[in-house]
């Protein structure tokens, strides 16, 4: 093969390794959220003791259980919900659980290869891949990296609330399904806004 002849490592093997490494790296801060009957959802350990997950993964009055990567289960207390963004915040006791390592969502470009990572059943980490397809509406903010990220990849059942992962295993957004089932991700900066609002007020102000 051409690559071997020039002593260059295979590009495909390198890409394959990077994808697997990225899943493993990002997966260290991905949890399972059980807040409703039936299908569990994914969640991300955003700040110490704070889990970001999908709002639609929670039912009212349902006891919330959060399953950690090491196999342990802790109780999740609802901090707040933002239905319009499909985001919710949970408080947990997070001994030893790494927080998310963030990437710069503003540096994403159409065509970038990205991964959606989920953790929602006994199979543990699962993943899908694809590319950034387009950028959508700008969420209220003057800052870069505040537009919804449209994705050409499959958001499998249970993937909502899980991370969008870019090169190096860095988390750049939270995945959800938009209208008509389109795969999309809320970029970090916008999730941060929601996290700040919910921690401060217990609800989010949206215009």
């Amino acid at each position: 093969m051409l690559a071997a002849a020039h002593n260059r490592p295979s590009g495909l093997i390198a890409l394959s390794r990077e994808l697997a490494d990225s899943v493993r790296q990002a997966g260290r801060s991905v949890v399972t959220v059980r807040g409703r009957e039936g299908l569990a959802s994914s969640g991300v350990h955003w700040r110490r003791g704070v889990i970001v997950t999908a709002d639609h993964a929670l039912d009212r009055g349902e006891e919330i259980r959060v399953e950690l990567p090491d196999g342990g289960t802790v109780r999740g207390t609802l901090i707040g919900r933002d239905q319009s963004m499909d985001l919710a915040l949970l408080q947990i006791r997070a001994v030893g659980l790494p927080t998310a390592q963030f990437g710069d969502a503003a540096s994403l470009r159409v065509g970038h290869i990205v991964l959606a990572v989920g953790r929602h059943d006994e199979r543990g980490l699962s993943a899908s891949w694809g590319i950034v397809s387009a950028f959508g509406r700008r969420h209220a903010s003057a800052v870069d990296g505040n537009r919804s990220i449209y994705l050409d990849l499959t958001i499998y059942p249970g993937f909502s609330g899980g991370p969008l992962v870019a090169a190096g295993g860095r988390i750049v957004g939270i995945n959800t399904l938009g209208s008509r089932g389109v795969a999309l991700s809320i970029p970090n900066a916008v999730v941060e806004d929601v996290v700040g609002d919910l921690l401060h007020e217990g609800r989010a102000w949206r215009d």
Binding site: M1, L2, A3, S10, G11, L12, I13, L15, S16, R17, L19, A20, D21, S22, V23, R24, G27, L115, E122, R123, G124, L125, S126, A127, S128, W129, L153, T154, Y156, P157
Partner: protein, 206 residues
């Protein structure tokens, strides 16, 4: 990308078309150069099947073993020195790794598809994984064909596709256990299929 073409070429050379008496069938993998072909049990349900090699040669394959539980069948063809696959370790696979599938969809020979490892099914007595689940679209014709890693090593035999976009492959470890085991060992295998019948469609052409 040149490397993709290389992988496709190598895999195509070791992938056969397996046909039943009427229309239909799927693919098969040249597992041993001495004439051993592996395919799905549902692709070769009868005692024999027609095996069409990538170079156009047509051989008669005789089914020597079949395991419906794992959807595997072994075929013997009268040929030696066939281009066999390099077999990889399905237990060493990681979620996120690139995988490639070769199949024979309608009117096309040796079509390449790319995806990543999505997850694994539960463990069994003979393999750390019950299934290799891939984030890959596998239309009819890919059944019985190879699933390989980025180095071109075959780590699974494609078996079925879910409606949500996952492909299910029998792990190479399971294939090796099937080939070396006795019929009675099938009892040790996990009996629960990963998908209910309504959720899956066979990816052999019917």
């Amino acid at each position: 990308m040149r490397e993709l073409e290389d992988i496709a070429q190598r895999l195509r050379a070791s992938t056969v078309k397996v046909q039943r008496r009427r229309s239909g069938g799927g693919s098969g993998v040249i597992w041993r150069s001495t004439g051993l072909i592996v395919t799905n049990a549902h692709v070769a349900p009868g005692p024999q099947a027609t095996v069409r090699l990538a170079d156009g040669n047509v051989l008669t394959g005789t089914v020597t073993a079949r395991d419906y539980e794992h959807d595997l069948a072994a075929l013997r063809v009268d040929a030696h020195d066939l281009p066999s696959v390099t077999i990889g370790d399905s237990d060493a696979l990681l979620v996120g790794q690139l995988v490639f599938a070769i199949g024979n969809p309608r009117y096309i020979a040796g079509a390449l598809r790319i995806g990543i490892v999505h997850a694994f099914g539960r463990a069994t007595a003979t393999s750390a994984r019950r299934w290799v689940e891939a984030d890959i679209e596998l239309p009819p014709g890919y059944s019985g064909g190879p699933l390989s890693d980025a180095a071109g090593r075959v780590i699974g035999v494609n078996s079925m596709a879910a409606r949500d976009g996952r492909g299910f492959a029998v792990p190479s470890k399971t294939v090796e256990a099937f080939l070396s085991g006795l019929p009675g060992q099938a009892a040790d295998y996990n009996r629960v299929p990963p998908l209910a019948p309504a959720e899956r469609h066979r990816i052999a052409k019917s």
